[in-house]
Symmetry: C2
Subunit: 437 residues, 2 copies
């Protein structure tokens, strides 16, 4: 058995113990980890310094950017933020052990549907050392074992944080946290469906797509975030311009930024000039369909067919005139990525039709697509945003790391009594009881 | 584009309309289908007669069994049962459009988490014509499009039932129901992740495993049902014998029948002779570990290592002596299939330890494993039993065919107001409101 498979098997074994941990024990462990990271911050900063030195070299060769350097860098304030974040996870509700449903099937035969951990979660994440501590904390809180693979640039920082977390909790089931350092380990991980319950890849579209198509292990995440706003004929033009501007300009490099704006023919003459003017002030490149270019003669370049369904992650937006809400819906369902799409209109009925017809995780009425986020949704903490429809959809919090388990308590009940001649009947009486006091 | 891809694409297109159907419209369609099957029962029985004639030939060659012939056969009473089942699905709660959570993120900015259909579900099922009508009804009720592939032996019956269902609902989105008839179509289906959201394969272990390892589309189901019962030292011997006997003998060829019984060393001398005697009366072959064979000198054959973790689906059971509950738990987690496992004991604490430690979809205390079933659990109707931990686990009803969608209603809200200097704060106030009146 390879080293990677050994790690995954150890994580699986540890997961049985993790699943049984009490809320108090999990929270105590989180606080111990926070304390330990703070008291060993010298070691953390030293390790991070080595990553920064290597990164400085890579910056000169143009392999990494200044923005990447900034995300990689730690200092005492950043370590304090990490420690606070871990304590915040300790303060969240325990997602495990909640009785979702209780039913008395028959006299003395009680069924409980109870939330439980998934088991072993593997997360592959970007070069930010705080990502490691966030993921480890969320997996601990949800009673899962975790396999971590961070960006190569953060190798020393990650290794040190992993070491501190592991050493801070000697009483935890051995192997609950594991670190992967090579790409070869990730390739092997994809085959370990026996030991791994879920993979969460964070990173570029290409990377997430690669993971999705190369494993039979379930994957939580999204490759693309192609977001649309449809400006209806009954929209308030000022609101539409403000919402579209925010959705593009407030933070263009993220998945919930808008990419294509569709506008109803009947309002296009009023909306387009104001919108294009506003975008030009913010130095956004505007690409318009033929009809947009007929209506607005300057400041708009001709859109190519490849612009529909394109995620820009940049100060670029596509504009298209449509005949009605149906055309808008059809366009979104055909070109969108089922992430987040919005309508601006004063007509409630049109808004409801749009929201019910668009097949996306989040559908908004008169609000910026940028609100699609676990923190803004009040989930406490976000493990990812899913554009799939299985298990989790949209911004996903701790409950994406859990599932349920059925507990049945009887008094020697047998199925034979409920079949054949004169069978007993099930009563299926709802109970207001927890599975365990 | 191939014919199969066209079918799947049509189903995807229809799914947008299916998702918007009201409860009344869906129930009316189900009743129209039921009426139509009843009034056209002559055509159904004629088509089934052709299947039966072909099956009679295959029976002579030994390709199919009498039991298969029996499952395939329809008559007026069976058609009546089919019609009743469809009307029962109409009577179930609509799983779509339920507001799971409502939160006011800030003044006038309201978020609703609402149940929604998956989209397109493909089901591959055994040679029982009533399976087609059951699956089609459940998919209709949950607002999904459905791709159906039934057993070849039921080809004419399935084709006729499909035709009647399709013709009974001319107002439904075209293409919502599609039938596949060749194995080649199934092979192609596995690649259509763009159009298909979930595959539910029903059938042999080998078949389900094949599907699971050959598609990146999520699969709901179980390959194996290797079930255990652990008889604890504090078990009531009479109860233990009765529960184990029921779990094996009441219906041995199903996934929730027991395969391995583990018995605590301290009670083995009292339990084993009674258990073996009872099994011999029911002509069950008993395979025991070395320690079992030392304690019971007749009626037990020596178990081979391949007996641990084996699903018999027959009148065969394996017996093993263990030292304590930990050994039982370790054995089950190592050899089980995470389907259903039970403990018999009078000690509540031991029962809870066992149930929390065993990593299975259903864990039972003093009850037969045969209770693991959607009907017995009160789910109304079962789409399958899942041994996976993503999306659905254990017996799965209509809610396995749904997911959720986030609806956000604002008044022109933009994210810029919640960042930068003097940002507005989210209030995340729980609401007692439906997303739509």
């Amino acid at each position: 058995m390879s080293e990677m498979a050994e790690k995954a098997r150890a994580a699986r074994r540890a997961s049985y113990g993790m699943a049984k941990m009490s809320t108090d024990a999990k929270n105590a462990a989180l606080h111990r980890i926070a304390d330990s990271i703070w008291s060993r911050r010298g070691e953390v900063l030293e390790a991070n310094g080595r990553d920064m030195a290597a990164a400085a070299g890579m910056l000169e060769c143009g392999v990494i950017t200044t923005a990447m350097m900034k995300r990689l860098a730690l200092n005492a304030d950043k370590v304090q933020e990490i420690v606070d974040m871990i304590r915040n996870v300790a303060a969240l509700d325990d997602p495990v052990g909640k009785t979702l449903q209780a039913v008395e099937l028959d006299e003395g035969l009680k069924l409980f549907k109870v939330t439980s951990p998934l088991g072993v979660v593997a997360v592959i994440f970007e070069s930010r050392p705080d990502a490691l501590t966030q993921i480890a904390s969320l997996c601990m809180k949800s009673g899962n074992s975790v396999l971590l693979k961070g960006g190569t640039e953060a190798r020393n920082s990650n290794r040190m944080l992993y070491k501190i977390i592991d050493e801070a909790c000697p009483a935890l089931p051995e192997g609950w946290i594991q670190i992967m350092e090579d790409r070869e380990e990730v390739s092997e991980l994809l085959k370990l469906d026996e030991y791994v319950d879920l993979i969460i890849p964070r990173g570029s579209n290409e990377f997430v797509s690669y993971i999705q198509s190369n494993t039979s292990i379930p994957v939580l995440g999204h490759a693309d975030g192609v977001c649309h706003i449809y400006v209806d004929e009954e929209a308030d033009v000022g609101m539409a311009v403000s919402v579209c501007h925010d959705a593009k300009v407030q933070y263009p490099s993220v998945c919930n930024a808008v990419d294509t704006i569709l506008v109803h023919e009947a309002i296009a003459d009023r909306f387009l000039p104001a919108m294009v003017k506003r975008f030009k002030e913010s130095e956004v490149e505007v690409r318009g369909c033929r009809r947009v270019n007929e209506k607005v003669t300057s400041g708009v370049v001709e859109a190519a067919s490849g612009d529909w369904g394109k995620e820009y992650l940049d100060y670029i937006v596509a504009l298209k005139v449509v005949d009605d809400v149906e055309e808008a819906v059809d366009h979104i369902n055909a070109y969108g990525s089922h992430h987040t799409d919005a309508i601006v209109t004063a007509n409630e009925e049109t808004a409801e039709t749009f929201m019910e017809s668009v097949d996306s995780a989040s559908v908004f009425w008169n609000a910026s697509t940028r609100f699609a986020d676990g923190y803004r949704y009040g989930l406490g903490s976000e493990v990812g945003i899913s554009t799939g429809k299985i298990h989790a959809r949209g911004p996903t919090g701790l409950d994406g790391l859990t599932i349920h388990k059925y507990y049945l308590k009887g008094g020697g009940h047998v199925v034979a009594d409920y079949s054949g001649v004169n069978p007993k009947r099930f009563m299926h009486r709802p109970l207001d009881e927890e599975w365990k006091d």
